[in-house]
Every structure is written in C-alpha cells, then in structure tokens.
C-alpha cells in the first residue's frame, strides 16, 4: 500500500516508505522530525508550512510527499549555516518581525524567495508578496521592515 519516496532535504538524501496520502509537511514533521515547519490551517491559506522545493517557496500542506520525489527541499532548519543566522533570519530578529514564532518559519521561507525575486522590494511589494502568510501577532508592521532589511542584507 505504501509508496517509496526519495528526496534531498536540507542537503541530506532521505528515503521512506509512506502511505500515499502523506503530505509533504507530514513527511517533514512526523518522519524526519523537522518540526520547524508548522501547520496552521491545513487548507493552504496560512503559509506557516512554507518550505522551498527546488528553490521555490511552496506550501508543504498542499502537496503530497510523493510529489516532491527527487526534489531538493529546504526547510527552516536548513537556512542558517553553522549556527549563523541567514541575513533574512537576522533581519527578523533585529526588526522584531516575530512574536510567538509560529508563523515565522513559513514567513522567512517566503521572504527569502521574495527577496531573491525583488532585491529592492517596496513596502507595497512586500505586503503583496506576503499575502499568502498569516501572522496574528505583529500586525505585519515589523515583518515588512524586516523583509526590506533582509533583502538589502542578502545583496551584500
């Protein structure tokens, strides 16, 4: 009844025999125990589960693990290197772009992709670009500042 799924997650090759209806987020959280990727709505609207698949920001509750067969997947756990925060992570800390931290991993993953597409994003571009990620704590004010600062820092 299972399907065998193989992919690269945060640089490591992983393989598992899964119930075919296993979502990518379930595979990451429950099988690989990468619990930094969160589930806020299970219907694709909150964005807390955003990860990178093949370099693109994807809501991991909206695809099956089997659909990521062979893909390069990066989760929030794979963003920082050697304990040093990625410039976007550092910008979120420096601008108080997070409070409870639950939406944060998805927000950061989406923000990194946004900054790659728009190296100098305007406030309007950031707000439109974060439209798929809910935050209930910050009112987005500091997230917008963090994404702009993070985008600038990523160019350095």
């Amino acid at each position: 009844m299972g399907v065998t799924v193989s992919m690269t997650v945060n640089g490591a090759r992983v393989s598992a025999d899964l119930d075919p209806r296993t979502l990518l987020v379930q595979f990451l959280r429950e099988h690989l125990r990468l619990t930094g990727t969160h589930v806020g709505c299970d219907t694709g609207q909150c964005g807390a589960c955003t990860v990178h698949v093949g370099g693109r920001a994807v809501k991991s509750c909206l695809i099956l693990a089997a659909q990521a067969e062979g893909a390069e997947v990066m989760t929030i756990e794979g963003v920082s290197r050697d304990g040093e925060l990625h410039p976007m992570q550092a910008a979120f800390r420096d601008h108080h772009g997070l409070q409870c931290g639950f939406c944060t991993p998805g927000m950061v993953m989406n923000a990194i992709e946004l900054a790659q597409k728009h190296p100098n994003p305007s406030e309007e571009t950031v707000r439109a670009g974060l439209d798929g990620n809910y935050c209930r704590c910050t009112g987005y004010h500091n997230i917008v500042k963090a994404v702009q600062a993070g985008a600038a820092a990523m160019k350095r």
Partner: protein
C-alpha cells in the same frame, strides 16, 4: 557596573530558536507509543442524541478506543467549570448549566463534542470517526443575541427556559435617570459589537500521557495558564490529586485569550491516556479552531450620553445583551460585566453611569475573553458616543474630550474603578501632532478632488490591566485569586534562573523579565534565563491574560529580588565584617557604605552555596527566594488613537491611510517589544472594524465563517504601517511603575476606525456604520443616505 537594561530595546532572547525551527510547540511533542485522537463533533446546532453506535468504528483498522459522553458519565468525569460567579439584580446567582466534556443527551452547537476516537494514526482515527452512527433528533436552534429572549425561543438549557444566564447592573440608576431628564442634549446610538474568532495561528493542541509507575499524568497543552488548567482539571473535572498531574505549556503560538480556558479536548485525552495506558495526542484542524475555540465580543447595545450645551458629559446609560454561547466558558461571565461596565467612564468625568447587562445562551460556540475582553466593547460604546455627540453639538472632537478629561488623580469613577494616575491630555496632544491633524483639512480637500472621501476618527481609551486585588475580585464573584508567583534562583557562580507563573506566547517575557532581573542584580542579560509554562518547575501561577504579566508577574519577581538582595546583604555583611545596616547594594555589588570594601553578587552567591565562611548559626545557606504578589489595584494604561481613512464612494472600499497610536503604559521596559504589542493589537482592532465577523446562519446555526476563505483575518496588504508613540506616567502602586500594553491596540482601534469612516460619510448624512465596515456595508450606507436626501 552594567548599563541600565530597563528602557532599552534589547533584541529578544527567544528569537534564535524560533528563527531556526527550534521552537517546541505542543504539536511538536511526540511521545513513545503515542496514539492520535479525533473528536466527532455535532453537525447540528441543537439536537437530541437518541443513540451513538460505535460498533462499526471500533473494528476499523488501528482503532484503540472510542469514548462517548456515557463513558465519561459512568466514570464520573465532571463538567467544565466556570471561574466567575455573577450575581444578578434579582440577588440570584447566574444560571450555570452543566458542561460535560462529551455531550450527554443533547448537542448544543455545531462543533459540540460527541465522541473521541483514539487510533494508531490520525488518518485511522478520522476514518473510524466517520463510521460512528449518531441518531440525532434535530431541534430548533436559537442563534442570534437579539432572538434569545424572544417568547417561544427554543431553550438551550432546561435550567434557563428564557435563555437568560443573568441580568446584572452597575451604577446609580436613579441619578442617571435624573440627569437625563434635565439634560440639554442626549446622544443615542445602537450597536452590534461583532462576534470574532480569535485565530491564533497555532491551533489548540494537547498531548497527554499517564505513568503507571507513580500513577501520574503529564499534559502538554496550548495554554496561557497551565497552573489554572491543572487546578480546574484536577479539582473540578477529573477528581485527581493535583500533585499527580503536571501541565506543561511549552512554546505557544499566540493566544489572544483563546488559550486561557479549560477545554473539553485536553480533559478527555488526559482521562483517556490512563484508560488506554498510552499517550494520546490531539491537534485541532483549523476548521475545529473556528468551531470550538471560545469566540469573542458579540454584544447588542443601546447607549445614551446626556450632555449640557457646552458638551460637558452629565450621565451615560447603557443596556447590553451579551452572548455566552451554548455553555459558560471558563471566564465568560465576567467579561461583559466586571471587565466591561466598569470601563464606561473612559477618560472622562461623567458623574453618573448606569449599565445593565443581560447574558444569554444561544446555540453557538462558547464566548469568552478575546484580546481586550470587555474593554474594547466599552471603549467602542464610549468613543462612538463622544464622536457622535461632538458632531451633533458642532464641537471639535478633541475639544469635547479635553473638556471632559479627568485631570486630577486618584480618581474614583462612578463605575467602581479608582484610577491611580494618568495624563490624557499629553497622549492626545502628542497623537494630534504625530498624526498631523492640523494638515487633515488640506488632505481631505485633496482627496475630494480625486473623488475620494477622507475621514478622521478619534478614540481616547482607558484600559484596566492586572485585574485585582484578589479580595475585591472575590467579593465580585471571582472563584480564583489574581496574584502572581515568581522565584529567583541564584546559582553558585552567580547566574540566575527565574521561574514565573506568567506565560509567554509571543509577548517576549524571556527577554523583558530577564531585563528586569539583570538590571536589578547588575548582571549580564545572558546570565539570566526565564522559565515559564510548567507546573512541574514553577511553584504556582495564574498565567498571562488581561495585560497582567509585567504589572503582576513582574512585581512578584521584583519582590523575590528584594529578598535576594536582603539575604545577600546579610551574607556580604558577614564576609566584609561589617554591620548589615551599613551594606549598600547597587547593580551587582554589595559595598560597605562610604568605603571601597565590596563583594560582587557572584561572590556572595558562591559563599551561600559553599558556606565555609558563613554565618550558619544565623542564616541558612543557598540563594533562592520566591514571592507571591497580589496587586492593590488595577493598572490603567490609556491612550489616544487617531485613524485617517480614505473611502472610494464607488466601491465602498475603505483604505486606512494613517493610523496613529500614542499610549501611556507607564514605565516601558523594552520599547521594541511594547511597540510590537501595539502593532499586533491595532491589527486585531482594525480587523474587527473592517474585516472580521463570525457569522452563523440565523436559522440552522451552521457556522458560515468556518474557514479562512470566509473569515477575513487581516493579511499584510489589508493593513498600513502604524505611527506609534508613548507617554510615560508611571503606575503609582507597583515598584516598576508599569501598566501593561498587550491589549491597547485592540481596545482603541475599532472606535477610531469607525469614527473615521463616519467622519468621511457624515457630509452625506451617514451617522453609523456597523462593524465590520465592509465595502458592501459602506457602499450601502452611502446609497441609503443619498436616497434619503
């Protein structure tokens, strides 16, 4: 000596783990042998349960156990209690219907819990739940507040045939009626304070395990107050000894009130973990959050303000009907009473106020505190009346406020509260400047040229935080104390662990509290860790709600610090061979006054744990102190919120072009964190005013806004950036001079937004727009006003 930490925007200690995926939320907990629970919920708003047939489901793959209300009744599991007894105007206690964790006999709202299925995997539990056959006899439902007391309305509970939980009142009715009879002007409005769904982004979750070795339970749960959850669950529901239950609220992804309460799910899985002798996990799907988290607001209000011809407020009369939902949630009864009517004086000297509140049951989810809890509703009443009265009297809206501001403190309001301090003129003056109100008319005219309607709205609010003192709250019906506990453990090398009964679910206590401790002890911030959210490690706690953490929890920590310093002085006196009275303490150093003879706190701590040279005949070793603090009064944050909107009359769409909030939170420990709290509160207040509404079908009681496609939670492009400022009038009755900041935005913003919209539309003849002011509502208001002309 270190630089002062209090008052600086220290970056948060907790951020590294949250930014790298290292947070530990309840759903991240996975215990060996863990099973998964799925709750079967009622599809009906009101129905009699004729039978529940679980036979087919029990034989489904992976099913471990299924429990129904009958099983819980047989095991003598009690109902979920309400923590506040309101006594009505008739002298009778409120009606408290039983609230079984799994329905017995009847279901009373869509989402009510019918059975729990526990299986090896979540998919198996869900699949099996679909095989349970429940024979329902659907009953007519009562859904809207306005319908609850109509003759012939279906009764939600037999013990309250008129669906009335209580009728309660506050204030001097005779004095108010007299003032109205002779007033030169009366402004009257009717409001609906729209029902909201809190929507913390982390859904509620719980993981329970039972240990046969010592007959104990451990519950991980998304709670704002794990000690309260344990007390209620052990003493009132499960009848377990409290010391056999450990409740851990690890990282919690937002609460906003919705995670204060004891919920059915955590009680049921805790009980079930022993029955099956395996850990059980339950995590809400978002649709379950919409259906079964306690909702907020939902008031129907008639309000009147009596004035003289100079705009001086003479009296206020308010009649409110508040929805309790189908059952009384943990603090439901005190929200529209103790935390609402007491706030109706606002920032003003209104000499007479009378408020009558009728709480009703309906076939909807329970309603309880949601960010602000009663205070946003009160502020909305007061500030909508004040803006409307100014317009009717042709007065400037800041002038009418200034004319009525309380200027002398302490001030006893006619609705029970004693304000200790404030400076309302200062926040208003600063807000007018920051919002460039002087330039508003020019901006309005410019917008008019583009065919847009600009409006400016005011809201000068008062808040009461850190609900207190316990003896007064007790006399008003509180069934709990309202203190907080804190413990300071100075380790032998001088580093410090702080145990607090407050709980952080985004507020940044690990940083703010550490700033307080590091500042007071004069030690580096990185040498202080804050521990919260675990009944196994913290002596006691009332948790975090009502913006109470720094004012109450912070003061408990300060008191424990005082004890540390007092004991440290004794130890230092011995080490320095001086009299204790001669020892001074300043930022990490004990010193013999007027000399350079000194010992650092690390040296004193070391002596306390390695007492080779120590006054053992007079003093115990160790440097560990705890304190409980019961506040002597509420704290009273206040502020001025100004909202500027631009409305497209063709579409009815409202854009907030400027939102300014100037708040007085007393002493601010970390300005960056405080500003963040304001931003978040404003977003929820603006959400209430423009976007959010919980809607049930008025006939069937089906939840129509049960997904993010239907319930408009604010997204990044729905909101502006904010202009935020603070003024500082220190609280007079706690040592830090702090007041609390968590709810301010949600309290002040709704009235500011609607006042701005009404200001923009007033030239057309519009007097009120109901929340949320959706484009459709604004457009209809414009059409209706034009049709009248």
């Amino acid at each position: 000596m270190n630089a002062p930490l209090i008052g600086t925007s220290v970056k948060r200690k907790e951020d590294y783990r949250f930014l790298t995926g290292g947070g530990q939320y309840t759903d991240d907990v996975m215990l060996p042998g863990q099973t998964c629970a799925c709750f079967l919920r009622s599809p009906h708003a009101h129905a009699r349960i004729r039978s529940v047939d679980t036979e087919k489901a029990r034989s489904a793959p992976g099913v471990v156990a299924i429990f129904t209300g009958d099983d819980l009744a047989k095991a003598k599991v009690g109902g979920l209690p309400c923590g506040w007894l309101i006594t009505g105007v008739n002298g009778q206690p409120m009606k408290e219907p039983p609230h079984p964790p799994l329905a017995q006999g009847k279901v009373r709202y869509v989402g009510d819990h019918v059975a729990v299925v526990i299986a090896e995997t979540l998919n198996q539990a869900k699949d099996a739940a679909e095989l349970i056959e429940v024979d329902y006899e659907a009953l007519p439902a009562v859904v809207k507040v306005a319908d609850a007391r109509k003759p012939g309305a279906p009764a939600v509970h037999d013990i309250a045939p008129d669906n009335t939980c209580y009728v309660w009142a506050l204030g001097d009715k005779a004095a108010v009626d007299k003032a109205f009879a002779s007033a030169q002007h009366v402004t009257a409005l009717e409001f609906i304070n729209n029902r909201l769904i809190p929507n913390a982004i982390e859904p509620r979750a719980a993981v329970a395990s039972y240990s046969r070795s010592d007959d104990s339970y451990t519950l991980y749960v998304t709670s704002q107050n794990p000690h309260v959850a344990r007390l209620l669950m052990t003493a009132f529901v499960l009848g377990l000894p409290e010391h056999k239950v450990r409740v851990i609220a690890p990282d919690v992804g937002g609460g906003f009130g919705s995670k204060i309460y004891l919920y059915a799910e955590e009680v049921v899985i805790t009980w079930a973990s022993k029955q099956i002798n395996r850990p059980v996990k339950w995590t809400a799907e978002r649709s379950e959050s919409f259906m079964s988290d306690a909702h907020g607001r939902d008031h129907l209000t008639k309000a009147e303000l009596a004035l003289d011809r100079n705009g001086k407020f003479l009296a206020m009369r308010v009649t409110t009907t508040a929805n309790m939902g189908a059952y009384l949630s943990t603090f439901a009864s005190c929200i529209p009473t103790i935390l609402y009517a007491t706030l109706l004086a606002g920032q003003y000297t209104t000499p007479a106020i009378y408020c009558e509140v009728t709480a009703v049951f309906t076939n909807t989810a329970p309603v309880d505190a949601y960010r602000g809890a009663g205070r946003p509703e009160a502020t909305y009443v007061v500030e909508r009346l004040v803006d409307t009265a100014a317009r009717e009297l042709g007065m400037d809206r800041s002038e009418i406020r200034r004319r009525n501001f309380i200027k002398e403190f302490p001030y006893q309001t006619p609705v029970a509260l004693l304000y200790d301090t404030g400076n309302y003129d200062a926040t208003l003056t600063e807000a007018l400047k920051l919002a460039d109100v002087a330039g508003f008319e020019a901006r309005r005219q410019e917008a008019e040229k583009r065919g847009k309607l600009r409006g400016l709205g005011y809201s000068t609010y008062i808040e009461a935080c850190g609900i207190a003192p316990s003896n007064v709250a007790g006399s008003l019906g509180a069934r709990a104390g309202l203190f907080e506990a804190g413990e300071i453990r100075v380790h032998p090398t001088g580093t410090v662990t702080v145990f607090t009964g407050s709980h952080s679910h985004g507020q940044g206590h690990e940083t703010t509290f550490a700033q307080v401790v590091a500042d007071r002890l004069g030690i580096p911030l990185e040498n202080v860790d804050i521990v919260h959210g675990d009944t196994g490690r913290i002596l006691f706690g009332m948790g975090t709600y009502g913006s109470r953490s720094i004012a109450v929890g912070g003061t408990a920590i300060m008191k424990a610090l005082d004890k540390i310093v007092a004991k440290g002085k004794k130890i230092a006196a011995h080490l320095l061979e001086a009299a204790e009275a001669d020892i001074e303490y300043d930022r990490g150093t004990f010193r013999v006054a007027g000399t350079d003879r000194k010992k650092t706190i690390a040296e004193v701590a070391f002596a306390a744990y390695v007492p080779h040279n120590y006054p053992l005949d007079k003093l115990e070793p160790g440097l560990n102190e705890s304190a409980f603090y019961d506040p002597t009064n509420f704290t009273f944050p206040a502020g001025s919120h100004l909202c500027e909107v631009e409305i497209d009359p063709e579409t009815g769409h409202t854009r907030i072009v400027n939102f300014t909030a100037v708040d007085d939170f007393g002493k601010v420990i970390n300005p960056m964190i405080v500003e963040g709290q304001v931003h978040g509160g404003l977003a929820q207040g603006i959400g209430q005013a423009l976007l959010e509404a919980c809607v049930y079908d008025p006939e069937s009681g089906q939840l129509l806004t049960g997904t993010y496609m239907d319930y408009a939670l604010p997204r990044a492009d729905d909101l502006p950036s904010f202009k935020v400022g603070t003024q500082e009038t220190p609280c007079t009755h706690n040592p830090l001079g702090v007041k609390g900041c968590g709810e301010a935005g949600a309290i002040g913003a709704p009235a500011a937004v609607i006042n701005a919209i009404v200001d923009a539309l007033a030239p057309l003849g519009v007097r009120d727009v109901e929340m949320p002011a959706t484009p459709e509502r604004v457009w209809r208001a414009i059409r209706a006003a034009k049709a009248k002309k």
